[in-house]
């Protein structure tokens, strides 16, 4: 550190000296400067006075209910994240789930007519081969990025796999 300090260079160091966070050569140099500079001694005193007042500022305690409010907010949020996870899984598993559902329906239908033949229904065929873009099955709701959770659930609960989305209200829950 330079032996001779200008006032300009001394000032930031005065902040540190005033609150006791300056040691070593920098401190020696600064004290040398202060010995011969009344203006900087006044500045040091002003720095001390302000930090003394600020350190004694009575702390504003967080209100007692705040931690509980934060915890509840986070619980609600991780509930939503949980739903997002569930939806992520559903996205990956939807074709399989839909296939199983349809297979079960087909199997039920076949059993009731007691026909032993095993063949894919046209719906499953279309689903798996997946070229059809119009009249998507209701399960396609899973592919929409901005559908609400309620719509998602109601779709699952209300629709058969071959229902189309045309009659779905646009986010009726909001």
């Amino acid at each position: 550190m330079d032996e001779t300090l200008t006032c300009e260079r001394a000032k930031p160091l005065l902040a540190r000296l005033a609150d006791g966070a300056l040691d070593g050569a920098a401190r020696v140099a600064l004290e040398g400067h202060l010995a011969g500079c009344a203006a900087c001694r006044v500045e040091r005193e002003a720095q001390r006075e302000v930090l003394t007042v600020l350190r004694a500022r009575p702390a504003a305690e967080a209100p007692p209910w705040l931690a509980a409010r934060i915890s509840a907010e986070i619980a609600a949020e991780s509930g939503l994240l949980g739903l997002a996870d569930w939806r992520g899984w559903t996205l990956r598993l939807a074709p399989l789930a839909a296939g199983l559902l349809i297979a079960a329906l087909v199997w039920g239908g076949l059993s009731s007519t007691s026909s032993p033949g095993v063949s894919l229904s046209p719906i499953v065929e279309t689903w798996v081969m997946g070229d059809r873009t119009d009249g998507l099955p209701a399960t396609a709701v899973f592919w929409q990025s901005d559908v609400s959770a309620d719509t998602l659930l109601m779709t699952v609960l209300r629709s058969g796999p071959d229902d189309t989305l045309e009659a779905q209200p646009q986010d009726a829950t909001k």
Binding site: P12, A15, A46, L54, P58, A59, S71, I74
Partner: protein
């Protein structure tokens, strides 16, 4: 004492919280809420805003904790989130106020210098003292206010403040110097009427 990542007393809780244990995060909130709230309150000087911002800061921290690398203490990292949240809030608020006060021609900054100064008797009250200090802090630019609050109100080391604000340590020094210089005349009544013994916030780890 500046905490490094290794002697961070929150390290284990942070790892548990990052692994999805909400109880661990709740404990981090309990440990840090007073410090965080007090900092935010000094930065925005409004009780309701400070509570909402404190909540927002912890929620941001919760969302990001999986990405916390541990290259600083949790406390330092949380202060980074806090200063960013405060900055966003202050910008938003000042835009709103600029819009709102344009017709009435009012500008609220600088109120600390108007009106009757509190009497020496009033200054014995903790709330009045704190309010006077916060009004003085409110006259500073957000940059100067953050630096001096982190140092003199929260008691962080210069090096840690440089980390929190992401600026060189020389800039921290000069901001603190200038902030105190500007505060000095505004705090005149408080300099003359020192806090009653025991009225201080009781932090001892300065310097």
């Amino acid at each position: 004492m500046t905490e490094t990542a290794h002697d961070d007393p929150d390290r284990q809780l942070v790892q548990q919280a990052a692994a999805g244990e909400r109880e661990a995060f709740d404990e981090l909130v309990r440990r840090h809420q007073t410090r965080t709230h007090n900092f935010v309150r000094a930065m925005v000087s409004d009780a309701g805003e400070a509570e909402d911002l404190t909540q927002e800061i912890f929620i941001r921290a919760y969302r990001a904790i999986g990405r916390f690398r541990g290259d600083s203490a949790f406390r330092t990292w949380l202060f980074r989130i806090a200063t960013n949240a405060v900055r966003t809030h202050v910008v938003r608020r000042s835009r709103w106020r600029a819009l709102w006060h344009r017709s009435s021609g009012g500008e609220r900054e600088g109120d600390a210098t108007r009106g009757d100064p509190p009497s020496a008797e009033d200054l014995e009250s903790d709330i009045v003292r704190r309010d006077s200090i916060d009004r003085a802090l409110a006259t500073l630019s957000e940059d100067l206010r953050a630096a001096v609050t982190l140092r003199d109100v929260e008691g962080l080391e210069y090096r840690e403040i440089a980390q929190v604000l992401d600026i060189p340590i020389g800039t921290v020094e000069s901001r603190i110097f200038r902030a105190r210089q500007r505060l000095r005349p505004l705090l005149e009544p408080l300099v003359r009427a020192p806090a009653a013994a025991g009225g201080a916030a009781g932090r001892t780890n300065h310097g």
